[in-house]
């Protein structure tokens, strides 16, 4: 299979503390890759490095075929990012937010207009087009934030705990969007605490204390650790 992210011996140190200890893994084109770990295990540090928000201490990393040290500008055009913090501007309307990102990613305004109409129709949010983000329900905001993150049709989208603080029904709906993106060929790299979400991934890696302890499909991991669900797998690894 086609590798879209390759990471070899990624190390990130903050002084004497090693947040990422020789991480090595590959992500394949079009898959949903779950990046799991307890708080403080080093997930966020790793995802920030992959997005170019932070530089690694050492290691070879390629994103969409581009080197993370030398070709950051090319990487940026090919990735989308949605963080656990909210990533839309509350004092801008739905439409203004979409146009802003379209502008930043250099999408021609005619195309942006068409895509915006399409997107709002799909999300059933046409009525909210001129409403400020601050007045929308959290579920809508999250769906919109995700849609904006993939508005420029990136090759990879990084989601850092995208469903924090949302009820199970909304989460389920959010995952429908993720599947859809994946079906359209976008690789999804997602971190989460929710083990039910881990089941939705094609493959998951589980980090503990800065190291990747396990990496496989949810089915194989359950088999290997003799567990009924991902929750048990996680507890056996993270102890």
């Amino acid at each position: 299979m086609d590798k879209i992210i390759t990471v070899k011996n990624l190390v990130k140190k903050f002084g004497a503390f090693t947040a990422n200890d020789h991480l090595t893994f590959d992500v394949y084109r079009g898959e949903i890759f779950g990046f799991l770990g307890a708080n403080g295990a080093g997930k966020t540090t790793a995802i920030r490095i992959l997005c170019g928000l932070s530089t690694p201490t050492s290691g070879d990393i390629k994103i969409a075929g581009y080197d993370i040290y030398r070709e950051t500008e090319k990487i940026k055009k090919n990735i989308g990012y949605m963080s656990q913090k909210f990533s839309l501007y509350e004092d801008l309307t739905v439409s203004e937010n979409i146009r802003l990102y379209a502008g930043i990613y250099g999408i021609p305004s005619k195309k942006a207009k068409e895509k915006e109409a399409e997107l709002l129709e799909k999300l059933e949010m046409e009525s909210a087009r001129k409403k400020l983000i601050s007045g929308l329900p959290l579920g809508w905001k999250q769906k919109l934030a995700f849609s904006v993150a993939i508005f420029h049709e990136p090759k990879i989208v990084f989601l850092d705990e995208p469903t924090g603080g949302v009820d199970p029904v909304t989460r389920r709906k959010f995952w429908d969007l993720i599947y859809e993106a994946s079906n359209n060929g976008i690789t999804v790299f997602v971190t989460t605490h929710y083990m039910d979400e881990a089941e939705y991934c094609n493959r998951v890696s589980i980090m503990d204390a800065g190291k990747i302890e396990a990496l496989d499909t949810p089915g194989k991991l359950k088999e290997k650790y003799n567990a009924n669900n991902m929750d048990e797998v996680f507890l056996k690894i993270a102890r």
Binding site: L53, K76, D91, G103
Partner: protein
């Protein structure tokens, strides 16, 4: 370019949709100008004076009585020695000393000309100026009534001397001062807050992940405030000119160029603050405590630098507003050109470059 345009449009949305920002940008400048403008034009009362009367004749006695009965002045002490003047000022209570030359009355009637010297403690320059003008007004008025045949104001020559601050530097000081203050407020504080807000909300990460370059982000943040600051500078200068009658003797173009330089410096300072501060609150605190207060107190805006303790005089050298105020004052009030303010201008350019270098270095490290 299109990227930058979308980004700048967003910044203007932020500015025009936040009532607090609107307040800071459009109402506070005018309010401050009016407040400082009117507060400084204060009335005087109960000024303690000392009189060194070398003549001790009828005329000087009458003038003295007239001054004391005016209600503005209280006689603290009659001096007997020229050396007492300095020491009586040092004690601090006496704000003005009136010196009549010997044979004052006689000279006035015979030669039609006599000297009276008014010495004021100009550590509060505004008060000193008022005291002097009140006193000379009273003296002139008396002489005019007593000797209507004399041609005034030629004959009586009040010789004015400002103690501690010879040049009376605070006249019209407040317009340049308020300008420095407002520009500092808008440029440094508002940019630093607007950048830290993005950090707090998490949107900065999104911007840094996007193809926008850090330099574009900075320019996009700074440009709206640059434009608004320039607009504010215009309003302040015009209000100073037409509401308070502060003249603009020098070149208006030079004035504006220097103002833009100062704004650029303050913007860079704001960017630097935002790279240090993690939250909007911190950014506001740093701007308030580290920028605003010293700008008000140490730049020579309200308290003349010459009167400060030496330590603070040294500290005032790192206040950008100090140089700006002195440039603006020179251009507006003295009508001087660039030849006379190039040193201050150079200092401001140096400071701007320093903060740019520092911010670029800091901003590169980004969000770690």
């Amino acid at each position: 370019m299109k990227q930058l345009k979308s980004f700048i449009r967003k910044e203007f949305y932020h500015i025009f949709r936040d009532p607090r920002t609107i307040m800071v940008l459009f109402f506070i400048p005018i309010a401050q100008l009016l407040i400082f403008g009117t507060v400084i034009k204060n009335e005087i009362q109960d000024i303690h004076i000392a009189i060194y009367d070398q003549a001790k004749d009828e005329t000087t006695q009458k003038i003295t009585n007239k001054i004391l009965s005016s209600g503005y002045f209280i006689l603290e002490k009659n001096l007997e020695n020229i050396n007492d003047i300095e020491s009586v000022f040092r004690l601090g209570k006496v704000k003005e000393v009136i010196v009549f030359e010997s044979d004052f009355g006689e000279k006035l009637t015979k030669e039609g000309k006599a000297n009276v010297q008014l010495i004021a403690d100009a550590s509060d320059p505004n008060m000193a100026r008022l005291a002097i003008s009140y006193t000379s007004g009273i003296i002139n008025d008396y002489v005019k009534k007593m000797h209507p045949n004399l041609q005034l104001p030629m004959q009586l020559e009040p010789e004015v001397r400002m103690y501690f601050n010879e040049e009376m530097k605070s006249a019209y000081m407040f317009v340049p001062g308020v300008m420095a203050l407002i520009l500092m407020l808008i440029s440094a504080m508002m940019t630093s807050i607007s950048i830290t807000r993005e950090k707090e909300l998490g949107t900065m990460e999104i911007l840094l992940v996007s193809p926008l370059r850090p330099m574009q982000i900075i320019i996009g943040k700074v440009l709206p405030y640059l434009l608004l600051s320039i607009a504010n500078a215009f309003v302040i200068v015009l209000m100073g000119r037409f509401v308070f009658g502060v003249p603009i003797l020098g070149s208006f173009t030079l004035l504006m160029l220097e103002t833009i330089l100062f704004i650029a410096m303050a913007l860079c300072l704001g960017i630097f603050i935002s790279t240090v501060a993690k939250s909007q609150m911190t950014a506001m605190f740093i701007s308030m405590i580290v920028l605003m207060l010293p700008t008000i107190l140490l730049s020579g805006f309200i308290y003349p630098i010459e009167n400060m303790p030496e330590v603070l005089q040294v500290v005032s050298h790192i206040m950008p507003a100090r140089y700006f105020i002195s440039i603006i004052r020179a251009i507006m009030l003295k009508g001087t050109g660039i030849l006379f303010v190039w040193q201050e201008t150079a200092v401001l350019i140096g400071m701007t470059l320093f903060f740019i270098a520092l911010s670029v270095k800091k901003f590169k490290i980004r969000l770690e």
